[in-house]
């Protein structure tokens, strides 16, 4: 029993260990990204970002990565081809899941450590370059801080990883509602992230080494039991659902009227059907019950939040900007994930063999995802408007300044959507990285750059001071300049995409695993 | 309308290391000779036969051509393919089959060193 568990741990570890290997991708991940981050920190962080608050931001990132990685593993499990083999191993269900989680936790420990080291390096480099004043940096407090935060990172990791995994048990029935606190926790973490960014003495007191050590202790005590309980929850409910699950069989169990209709309606010929095929996927996905629940909660929460934020002008614009951000990044991520997933599931061959040019195929894919994004964004903006209007009705006042704010919002909309679409096209070119590994050095930092977008926007294109002074011609000029840079890049990315998208076929998870294996054997 | 004879794959015993069309010719010929396929029976088209037997249509076509050459089946344009009504042709076939059978028997007899008549006598001897 003991032995078989050890072997299983070995197996599970083997499945994640490759993330630690220092090949071209590993180098880009483990050195490229931290380097970009440190460099970005030098340029983007001002003196108000103390080493302490950088560590605190790192803590949130570490926690977020644990949460997302756990949730991601739980989600991926549904489509894992090895799933049934795994489920039929003769071990208690909890042990089965614990072993998988143990392997993931090892990897996360490395990630967390890397985040901590990046924060450490960032502050040291900024100190070395004289970007930090003497009041912001002293060797004594710095070393105490770094140690206290290291403890905090370690203590929080299992808890949040467990929370992530517990989503495995929230797939059907009433347990679906447990997703609600999950989403709130996630939103809270993101909110904390932006709160820490703004320096205040009040806040700084909460982030000092002695307090942090206390948090670490408070987290460390329940860490192990809560990790256990969360995993047990996931094992008890999730593994049963997992055994029943079949790919694509979820969602609206009852057929819609359209599906039942006997009479056949051919889709309009040509590009329109390609588009219809693409958008059917999102229609199906958005029709699934868990998704509908989550979306309604998000829209509702968003309306409430917008209302609450409408009392300060800065916040009013700030939250508007926050809405736009996912619109920029998510479609891009969806398309990249889709291509990879479709290749893994052997659906890509069908798609690539449709008698259309690659550019039409990719355009249909882009158009469909952006149409959905536009629809969701419209919903979010409606929620925003309703929230603000409701507050105005109740309190008789908001900080909404009519036409001036409208133009600002239109500007921001154009800015973010433009960047999003351009980024989407640029990232299509990532397929070419399968052809030449060196391109990873372009695309991996580029994709991580996406996450700095808000900072880049406020730093160089539309600083927060402009919230009050309103739009100036210089802002439009910057937008035009940005277009001059991004449009050729987008065309380039698109061309690379049409040329090399078929390489996904040769680089499915299966292929990669096989090649990795043959390399290991080769050594 | 004459009866239609449909085939299933189970109607034929096929040896994959001999030309297929020959075997179909042999076996259909035997069916006609022993009256299992009655004169005037309509045969399924090449396409239907190929699909139900799961063999290459060329094979079926060659078999039909050969049977036509032997005058055991006839094709009327626009109506289909039928087992011949000419009793003379069927009788000829029966005679050929009988001759072939006797020849094989003769070979067997020769292989154990006796004549056909002796073989016959021998087999009828009481224990």
């Amino acid at each position: 029993m003991r032995r078989s568990r050890d072997r299983l741990l070995e197996l599970e570890w083997g499945r994640v260990r490759h993330w630690l290997s220092l090949d071209a991708r590993g180098m880009a991940l483990w050195f490229g990204i931290p380097l970009v981050l440190v460099a970005a920190g030098v340029h983007l962080l001002d003196a108000s970002a103390t080493p302490r608050s950088v560590f605190a931001i790192g803590a949130v990132f570490s926690v977020l990565s644990a949460l997302l990685f756990g949730a991601g593993q739980a989600m991926m499990l549904w489509e894992n081809p090895f799933r049934i083999w795994w489920l039929s191993m003769p071990l208690p269900r909890e042990k089965l899941l614990e072993t998988k989680a143990a392997a993931g936790l090892r990897l996360l420990a490395a990630v967390s450590l890397a985040i901590w080291l990046t924060c450490l390096a960032s502050s040291l480099v900024r100190q070395g370059l004289g970007k930090l004043g003497p009041e912001a940096f002293a060797w004594g407090t710095f070393s105490l801080d770094s140690l206290a935060y290291l403890l905090l990172y370690a203590a929080l990791l299992p808890i949040f990883y467990g929370i992530g995994w517990s989503m495995l048990g929230m797939y059907t029935g009433r347990r679906l509602w447990l997703l609600l606190p999950m989403i709130l926790a996630f939103a809270l973490l993101v909110a904390v992230l932006s709160a820490i960014g703004e320096f205040s003495l009040e806040l700084d007191r909460w982030l000092q080494a002695d307090r942090v050590a206390l948090y670490a202790l408070a987290a460390a005590l329940p860490a192990k039991p809560s990790y256990r309980v969360l995993l047990r929850f996931a094992a008890r409910h999730g593994l049963r659902d997992l055994a029943v699950y079949r790919s694509g069989s979820l969602g609206n169990k009852t057929q819609t009227a359209a599906e039942k209709r006997e009479q056949r309606v051919a889709a309009p010929p040509g590009f329109a059907s390609l588009y219809a095929l693409e958008s059917s996927r999102y229609r199906y996905f958005l029709g699934m019950k868990p998704v509908r629940v989550i979306a309604s909660i998000l829209f509702l929460g968003y309306a409430v939040l917008s209302g609450a934020m409408s009392l300060r002008h800065e916040d009013l614009i700030g939250i508007f900007q926050l809405t736009l951000m996912p619109t920029v990044l998510v479609p891009c991520i969806v398309i990249l994930t889709l291509n990879q997933l479709e290749a893994n599931k052997k659906r890509l061959s069908w798609w690539l063999c449709f008698p259309y040019s690659r550019s039409k195929l990719l355009l249909a894919r882009m158009a469909a995802v952006w149409a959905v994004a536009a629809k969701l964004l419209a919903g979010a903006l409606l929620a925003y408007a309703l929230g603000v209007a409701a507050v105005r009705l109740m309190l008789g006042k908001t900080e909404f300044r009519g036409w001036d704010d409208m133009t600002t919002m239109i500007y921001l909309l154009a800015l973010y959507l433009g960047i999003g679409v351009a980024l989407g096209f640029i990232m299509l070119g990532q397929a070419a990285a399968y052809r030449s590994r060196a391109l990873n050095w372009v695309f991996v930092p580029l994709s991580s750059l996406g996450y700095f977008l808000p900072m880049i926007v406020t730093q160089w294109i539309y600083p927060e001071q402009a919230y009050e002074s309103g739009l100036a011609p210089v802002h439009w000029l910057r937008l035009a300049l940005l277009a001059v840079v991004l449009v050729p890049l987008a065309i380039c990315g698109f061309r690379l995409g049409t040329r090399w998208v078929h390489l996904y076929l040769l680089n499915t998870q299966e292929d990669l695993a096989r090649r990795r294996q043959s390399r290991v054997v080769g050594k | 309308m004459p009866p239609i004879r449909g085939w299933t794959a189970q109607d034929f015993q096929i040896d994959p290391s001999r030309p297929l069309y020959e075997q179909f010719v042999e076996q259909i010929r035997a069916m006609i000779a022993r009256g299992e396929l009655e004169p005037g029976t309509r045969l399924p088209s090449v396409r239907e036969t190929a699909a139900s037997l799961r063999v290459n249509p060329t094979t079926v076509m060659k078999a039909y051509q050969e049977l036509e050459r032997l005058e055991l089946i006839v094709t009327f344009r626009g109506q289909g393919t039928f087992v011949t009504q000419a009793e003379e042709a069927i009788r000829l076939t029966r005679r050929q089959l009988a001759k072939e059978a006797v020849r094989r028997l003769e070979e067997t007899a020769r292989s154990i060193g006796i004549t056909l008549e002796e073989l016959w006598e021998l087999s009828r001897e009481k224990e």
């Binding site: 010929p269 996927r281 069908w350 | 139900s52 063999v55």
Partner: protein
């Protein structure tokens, strides 16, 4: 009717080759997958592409569809170079491929009718009956055999002159296999279409083939006319054994 069909066949034999590979080489990640591949397939024939796992069959088929390009050598369809611009002329069933699981069979077929310019709705209806495909069933809940039949239906409801099937029987139950084989045969009876089928089910399929192309470790190990093999007293299976064991 038979005379017409045989006329078409005779014409088919005179037609130029449907597929021609000339000294084709492909390397993936510096590993030679196909090495000096040369063969051709006459139009109107049904050719089996046979070989053990990992022989390069799927790579070869991807070359024909234009999804991959050869590193050297030439691939031609009906006398012109293969490529993604030729996808309208061929119907391809990928190995272990899957259709969008969130759609019903009918939903997929309606979309496919729009996507493929050469779709034939009457044929679709006929094939759905022959193959036993039910329109209101969701693809994600189909058995392997049901989905395989739907995929074949998708290939055959088109009027493309070249049909390439990569392992149409893998993991498919016996009854589905028989229905698929019957549909393929019925489809080629008029001699207008050319089939290339990669398969491991030699016993099931050998009565279907006109020709076989044997491929092993990235090289052609033989091209045979099946009837000629049989005249020499060999079956496809024995020929396969001689070459590969």
């Amino acid at each position: 009717m038979m005379a017409q069909a045989s006329g078409a066949r005779a014409a088919g034999e005179k037609k130029a080759t449907a597929v021609k590979c000339d000294n084709v080489e492909v390397a993936i990640k510096r590993k030679l997958i196909l090495n000096g591949i040369s063969f051709d397939i006459p139009a109107g024939s049904l050719t089996g592409l046979l070989g053990p796992n990992g022989a390069g069959k799927s790579t070869l088929m991807r070359l024909l569809t234009g999804l991959l390009e050869p590193d050297s050598g030439r691939v031609e369809l009906f006398g012109r170079p293969a490529g993604t611009d030729r996808l309208g002329e061929l119907s391809f069933l990928p190995d272990r491929g899957q259709l969008p699981p969130h759609l019903t069979a009918g939903g997929w077929l309606d979309l496919a009718a729009g996507i493929y310019p050469d779709w034939n709705r009457e044929r679709e209806e006929e094939l759905a009956r022959e193959l036993g495909v039910y329109r209101d069933k969701k693809i994600g809940t189909m058995s392997r055999g049901e989905e395989a039949r739907l995929q074949l239906l998708t290939c055959l409801a088109r009027e493309a002159p070249l049909i390439i099937l990569d392992e149409p029987f893998a993991g498919v139950d016996m009854i589905s296999r028989e229905r698929i084989a019957s549909a393929v045969v019925a489809e080629m009876a008029d001699g207008q279409r050319t089939f290339l089928i990669a398969t491991h089910d030699i016993r099931e399929m050998e009565q279907l083939f006109d020709r076989i192309v044997l491929i092993g470790e990235g090289a052609i190990r033989g091209v045979h006319d099946v009837e000629e093999l049989r005249l020499g007293g060999r079956s496809v299976e024995s020929c396969y054994r001689d070459v590969f064991s």
